[in-house]
Every structure is written in structure tokens, then in C-alpha cells.
Symmetry: C2
Subunit: 413 residues, 2 copies
Amino acid sequence: MDLMEIGARARTAADYLNKLGMSRKNEGLLKAAQALVDRQEEILSANQTDVENAIRSGMNEGLLDRLKLSPDRIKGMADGLVKIAALEDPVGEVLSMKQQPNGLMIGKKRVPLGVIGIIYEARPNVTADAFGLCFKTGNAVILKGGKDALNSNRSIVTILRQALEKEGILQDSLQLITDTDREVTKKLMRMNEYVDVLIPRGGAGLIRTVVENSTVPVIETGTGNCHIYVDEGADLDMALKIIVNAKTQRIGVCNACESLVVHKTEAEKFLPMLQKAMEEYHVEVRADSDACLIIPGFSEATEDDWGTEYLDYIISLKLVGSLDEAIAHINRYNTGHSEAIITKDYERTQRFLNEIDAAAVYVNASTRFTDGEEFGFGAEIGISTQKLHARGPMGLEALTTTKYIIYGNGQVR
Amino acid sequence: MDLMEIGARARTAADYLNKLGMSRKNEGLLKAAQALVDRQEEILSANQTDVENAIRSGMNEGLLDRLKLSPDRIKGMADGLVKIAALEDPVGEVLSMKQQPNGLMIGKKRVPLGVIGIIYEARPNVTADAFGLCFKTGNAVILKGGKDALNSNRSIVTILRQALEKEGILQDSLQLITDTDREVTKKLMRMNEYVDVLIPRGGAGLIRTVVENSTVPVIETGTGNCHIYVDEGADLDMALKIIVNAKTQRIGVCNACESLVVHKTEAEKFLPMLQKAMEEYHVEVRADSDACLIIPGFSEATEDDWGTEYLDYIISLKLVGSLDEAIAHINRYNTGHSEAIITKDYERTQRFLNEIDAAAVYVNASTRFTDGEEFGFGAEIGISTQKLHARGPMGLEALTTTKYIIYGNGQVR
């Protein structure tokens, strides 16, 4: 189908969804979840084709693992939809309503964004997930998944659309772009008349491509070069426990810790503790020359290390002489995601919280908590590392906008 | 100065402003206001040069009027800064702070955006205005004004910077790009490492250029093809009063009414009333063929008329047979700005408020109220007709973002 036709249908669906109502949307989500389970054989068979093609073309193990579906994973996708159905619907809430001196009642109401485009990589679970979050918030969604998952995505989307249709809900609430031509994706990024927002989900390369080519507003979900700063006088056992957790509990995620900043006064005592723990977890430490003098077992860091999100069993380490130096280093190299200070000092907690420029700033806790579930949002469409519209973990509210509604009785200026 | 140098200085200034504190910012604004008045002769002389150049190059009267400064207008700019100083500072407010089951206290705090770029046309008053709003909210600002106002802008910016310096405040809080090469402006639009947000202020052409070329997130301020729908059974006197106000009270503004939609059952009675009033105000009515049958004095509208923001003594008129038809017409041709229904019917007010896709939707009031002052915000940086970050009149809050601050005591996942 032509992209313009897809856009026009999405716009019609958006108007439709805006009027659909909470109960019907939740019914649709539950039926869609059931359909995924009932028809899992179709999905698994389509996925098998994708996986075989991917093996033939030499896809690496990590990506293959993300592509591969199983009955358990399909159950997980369905459970995700059921969970979304149970969440509170943010749409329709009137956030404020105030009378003006002239008698006008001016209110601000939460409404759907309209049409959301999601561009993602070869992870078929994102297909159901993105549909669920957008549908729940009354948005029509246009999906453009990675071409390696095309058969899986087509199967999932067909099943979801048919489930909606059976429930009497407009199928075009969810559409998949099946044309794998890169020019089609670029056209989607410039389809301002039909698409209200684009959300890229995937690696840094994908996100950069969308940011650079899109004229449609983009919510950038991002990479995380997250730091932990161990302050002078910090509880070093707590620091170590938090660092081990933030670095090793899950290696490939954006809220994992990638870089340590340690106050010099603690180095002699703390670095040996750190070395022992990092060895135990097979984490390579790339340190500045001062730290390497204390622990010859550390590798020497290069300038590149300060800006690198490893997503691997590697961590960088820099010694600093003051909080100012720590803040300057972190603000220079961080990606605006999550940063933590380990300290006992009141004044320095406040300075760190105020002066670090990031979506989430922690005192005495692991950066791994930057997550929609952990923040109590119930679901997450991604973590925004930019500053417009949404910053940090994005729950359902990030998929809405507001509209002013004004009640008058003949007012003129 | 090189653009990269300007960007780096703005980033440093943003870190500085983030720590400056409310009293110091307000002091800076008051001193800046005083300096504009004290040194008005310099500004007027620079402006005189701009105006003479503009006359030589044949600038039209409307633009010349916007370019031209006078002691009164400079007083107005200064008063604007004083007023901004008196407004409540949104920065630093903690919007929520909640404990999670694991004991983490997660709060959401309002913080400056960082570095804001403003691209505008030859209106020197925007220079002081944009500075005031950005400075108040702790943002460093990079201004790129129209080249026809370069001498005026340079004079204003020099005076404002020197006033800040005298007050001991970093001058680079405010910078002006004086290179008039278009390529420099395009480079600014792609300076993601230094600029957090771009706000274009000006006509549709300028805004389109910024949206199409920018990789930095843009807050689009917009055009208004605003409609008023006169419903079946409406109070026709009220309708007429509101239409006259919305069309004629100020012609060249984005919240002026450009198009009428009238229910057929009211046409025979209402169109003659409308004709009389529009004649009185010298407004040309471009109507569909049904309306022209009733009032031969109306001009015949073409398809182009439905989508045109006239900003002139012209209004388009369409007759419809139902509320559905009215909503469909408005949602097709509006620009997402301000739309009004004039009605006595409860059910139809609710449908209109829910189903019209625009920043501000009115019942029985003039669209002219879509304005930061009228909404009680005290100041306005523009009116957003897009859906991300801010929609409708943007006050000081639109120039802020949020940051999560998290207090822990050793939590790990």
C-alpha cells in the first residue's frame, strides 16, 4: 500500500480512536492479547522463516536472540497487553480548569497525540508492545520494523488487526509498513501532514538517522553513558554494592553504569576493593594514569573511553580532586541519562542533584532504577534523553498531549 | 565569532544560569530594563540606520512598521522585562515526590531547558522579549534576528550584555549571531551538541524552513486558520458579535478568525445579518455556492480559500447540514490553532470540544483569546500549534523541562 494512503488511513483511525472510549479500548487490548496466544503457531512459523534467513545472512548471536520468538515470549507479549489494559487511562483528564476575570473558564485536557510512527529494529516483541501503548492512549500507530523481522511482524500485525476487527474496532488503528526500501522510511520521517510524532526505538545509529532526517517531531530515546561518583567520605561498602549492581546486573541496557568517578581521598582505600569486585565479575577497568599508579592491574583509559557506552564488561574510572571536577567531567561526557553520587554530605547531594544535567540524578542508589516499571508507571515506551516533551522514562502520559477547552458565554476582546 | 565558539559559550552560560538563583536573575532583568531606557538614543540611532536601509531596499509599510523603534516602543521593551521579573519563577518547583516500595523517593523537578536558539524576523522588540523570557527561566539564549534589523539588534544586545556584566552576571547568557550568511543559520539548526531547543518566531515561511532543516528539536509556533461554527439554534446576535470581534478586532494576528461554518437551518436568517456587519467592517466574504445563492453579494470561494490564513479583511464561509460535517470541514482545513462553536446545545458543545483537533477549542467565545496574557500566563513566547512539549500559548513553563531527582539509601536492583 502507498505510504500516503497509510498516512491518510492512520489519520482517520486517530479521529476514530479519539472517540472510542476507555472500555472499548481495553476490550480491544484483551482480545488482541488472547489472539496472540490462540494463534501463536502462525507467529512462530513466520518467525522461524525470519530466524533462518537471519542465520543464513550471518546475524550475530545477540541480535538473533532478540529476533527469536518462543511460546513463552509470545505469552509475554500477550501479558504485556493485558497489563496495559489494566493501567489507568490518562486520556480525558482535565489537568486544570480556572476562571479568568472575564468569566471564561479555561481548562487543559489530556488528549491523544494523534498518529504515532514507531521505527525500530528486528525485535518483534516491540510490535505488540508499541501497539498496546499507542492504542491504550487513543493513538493510531504506524509501525516500521527492521526488515529482518518482517515475516514475524506481518504475522503479529495481521493477528492484532483481525482481533480488533472481530471486536468491531477499526483495523487501521494499527498499520505496518512492509516496504523495506530505505527511501520509504525516509518518506515516513517527512510525512508531517499525517504523522504527529516519531519515536525511534533501537541503537544509537537508528536514532541518529531518524533525528537527522526527520521533519516530523521526534521523541529521542537514548543511549546511556551513566556515571557513578564516589564522594569524599562516602560509605565505601555501599558504593561498591551499588557499582557492582549498576555495572553487572544487566550489561546491555542503557541505565547500566559505564563510568566511575572517584574522589582522590578515597582512592587508596577504595580502588583495591573495586579491583577485587570487578575481577570477580570479569569487568575490565580502564582508568586514568593516577588510578593506574595505585592499581597496576587496571588498563590505561584513552580520551575515547570517557565518552563510550560499552554495554559490555568494561568500565572507565577517573579520579578527581573535588566535586566541581566530578560534575564538570560528568556533564561533559554524559548522554543525559542517569547519574549517581554516593555520599554522606548533605550540601554535596544538593549540588549534585542541581548541577548534573541528566534525565535522572540519584543519591545513594543504583542507576539501574531509571525504568518506567521501577518509577511506578506500569509500562514504558522508552527513556527520553532529550529535554522536549518528555525526559526520562516515558509512560502512557508521554503518548498524550493537551488541548485547551474554553467555556464562554459570549466573551469578546 | 565562530558559531561553535558561540555554542560552547552558551553551554557554559547555561550551567552558570542554572545556579544563579531567582533574585539575581530578577535583578539582572531590572538592570537590563533600565539600561534600555537610559541608552535609548544609541538604539534609536542604530534603528534609524536599519530603517533607512530598509526604505532604500523597498521594504513594505507593514514590515517597516514592525522594524521601526520609538522611545515609546523602547519603553515597552523595558516594561516587558520589568513585568517578566515580577512573574513567578517556574524553575526549581518539585512537581511531585513519591516514595516507591523499595524506599526510593522519586521526584520530578522543573529545570531550565539549557540553551535556546531563537530565529526571528526583522522585529527588534523580539530581541529584548526573547532574552527576558529565556533569562528568567535560567536558559542561555542565542538570537538570530532578521538581517534588516541587524544594527538595532546589535545595539540592544550590546546594551543588555553590558547591563548584565555591570550586575556581575555572565554576559554570554545572551548572544547574538551577527553573521547574516544563511549557511550560518542552517548550521545553528544542526548544532545539537550545543543547542537544546530552537524556537522560530515569524511567518509561515520562516517556520517551515526551520522545521525542514533543523535536527535540533523545534517548538513550532504557528499560523492560525481559525474557524467559528454557528450551530443550529445558536444565539445569532452572540454569533455575530463574536465573529465581528474575532475577524476585525485585529486583522494580522494568528488567533483572528479566517473562516465561518454556518448550519444551513440558520443561513436564511443569519447570512443577511452577517452581510450587513461585514460590509460595515469592509470584510469581503468568500462563500460556497449555496451561500452565494442566498447572498449574491458574497464572492464565490475556491478550494484554496478553505485553507487560507488571510490576515486581511477577507473571511471564507461554508454552509453545512450537520455538526459532523462542520467538524470534518474544520479538522480538514484548520492549522491546529483555535476553533469555536456558537451553540445552545449541551451535547454538541461536548462533541465539538472533544472532536476538534486544535490547541484551543471554544464554546461561545472569540478565538482572539488564545494568548498567554489572556490565559493568565503573564507572558508568552509564542503559540504552539504542534503537539509535542507545549500546545497553545506558551508561558514561562514552556521554556523549562523536568529532571527526576532520586533520594536513596543504598538501593540496588
